[in-house]
Subunit: 308 residues, 2 copies
Amino acid sequence: MEIKDLGEDGLIQHIKKAAGMENERVIAGIGDDAAVIKKKGGGCLLAALDMLIEDIHFTANTPFFDIGHKAIGVNLSDIAAMGGTPEYAFTSIGVRDGMSVEDIGRLYEGLLSHAGEYGVSLLGGDTNRSPRGFVIDICVLGQVGEKDLCLRSGARAGDSIFVTGALGKSALALKKSLYAPVTPRVKEAKALLEITKPSSMIDISDGLAKDLRRLCESSGTGAEISREKIPAAEGASFEEAFSAGEDFELLFTAPASENAKLLSSFSLKTGIQLSLIGKMTEGNLGIFIRDKNNKKTPLEGGYDHFTR
Amino acid sequence: MEIKDLGEDGLIQHIKKAAGMENERVIAGIGDDAAVIKKKGGGCLLAALDMLIEDIHFTANTPFFDIGHKAIGVNLSDIAAMGGTPEYAFTSIGVRDGMSVEDIGRLYEGLLSHAGEYGVSLLGGDTNRSPRGFVIDICVLGQVGEKDLCLRSGARAGDSIFVTGALGKSALALKKSLYAPVTPRVKEAKALLEITKPSSMIDISDGLAKDLRRLCESSGTGAEISREKIPAAEGASFEEAFSAGEDFELLFTAPASENAKLLSSFSLKTGIQLSLIGKMTEGNLGIFIRDKNNKKTPLEGGYDHFTR
């Protein structure tokens, strides 16, 4: 069977099954935004790993500053989605022939400026030659207190579904061949935890549609969301807001009893809008989107690295 | 300036300078085999990261089992070189078009069998499409007690230089297009620490010549080694034993007062040969190799990913 027939989530499930290792200190491994390891002294170590590949995540024309900025940003976003604080970064790069020392300088400028903004130290990694296209893989380590740890798997039927910010910004930028800077919601996740503990959380890296499905699958729930509640960025179509990837906003759930507190406090604290887009349902009910005429459609969409 | 003019170590120095971040909990960052972070509860966290790229580290014909086995092995070797115990692994893969689910299965078989041998749990990572060639990057986390931590930087003039095992095995296998399985010297490093604490240590990934230079540069020493003391594997030429990469033996130094103890105990404990190949000298004396006629030649050689 070819991987494209399996799709990205199918492949991850396949690997998860193959790995099949148990370790009592591991709270979350394959299949969450970051791995979670209980520390002996208390609290949890978080580890996120993300690879960017030429002609998949950027082109030969993308400025190296932007590649560096994005490569670390997507990892910071993973740590944010766990409720954590990023601390250390490691980079592996495959340098294509003809790249200049100045290119590397700009790559690290983008990487380090973003790391510095979040108090993250770059500690090392690996440098290689890559015969066909530039590749960068970044590992970010962070930490989170056990009581603040947000997994994908904690949502319950009846919980409200929230999304931060506006969606489709990255898709709009892409149409103009621009880079929409990744803004990891590290501070926003912290502010959220001061208001209430989400029952589940994920960052929207592959589109609301797909990442909502992931929350539901991990939590064993269904979901029902309202089409007109989805916060589209100015100029973005519904499809762009709903299915396009790389917005890196937070998608989370919380008991409905927390709705009022969240809606009144979150935007005040952070300056970022918060939208209540629907609710989790029982797992056997599936995932539906309801339009303004109250018509329910099963959920589809989202970005898959392999099947598209 | 192009990267090939700078070379691999030049590039690492360039990145190190660009990073320029200080963190009081970081004992070693860019430029050792693994990064070392002091844990709050005592001991140190180790993090190694190594990327393998198609047509650089393997070819389209290399069995996927071997790629997986090697990709984790080189990281386990990095942890061994710090005197540490590997614990967790994370993998990022870029999957080339046309790869099958069976290919991924064999990759993870190689990876997991090797991880399992060393008690390492695979915890997650990232999966991507790669349009031109397979790429895998692995991060291994481990730990080491502060008193057992071996850096590249601790050698002093007068210290003896030792190497474990036989060199040139990987070069011999390469000539037959075979994979010489990476055997990370994790147990051997532990046995060594029971005998004495090395003053500096590195794993031989890019050839004895180059990795000895790295030890000397990190420690601020020169070195003098004897050509006929270099332990060439059966059938390997001097050049293969001295300069070829990927043997993953340990190269370490210890005060000369420990020579007798090391030479009498190490092989008994491990079943692996130990060779005393020379001694560290003052830093301003440079690095020399002495032949059987007592002729001294300045050291050259080793594998550079960029200039070769």
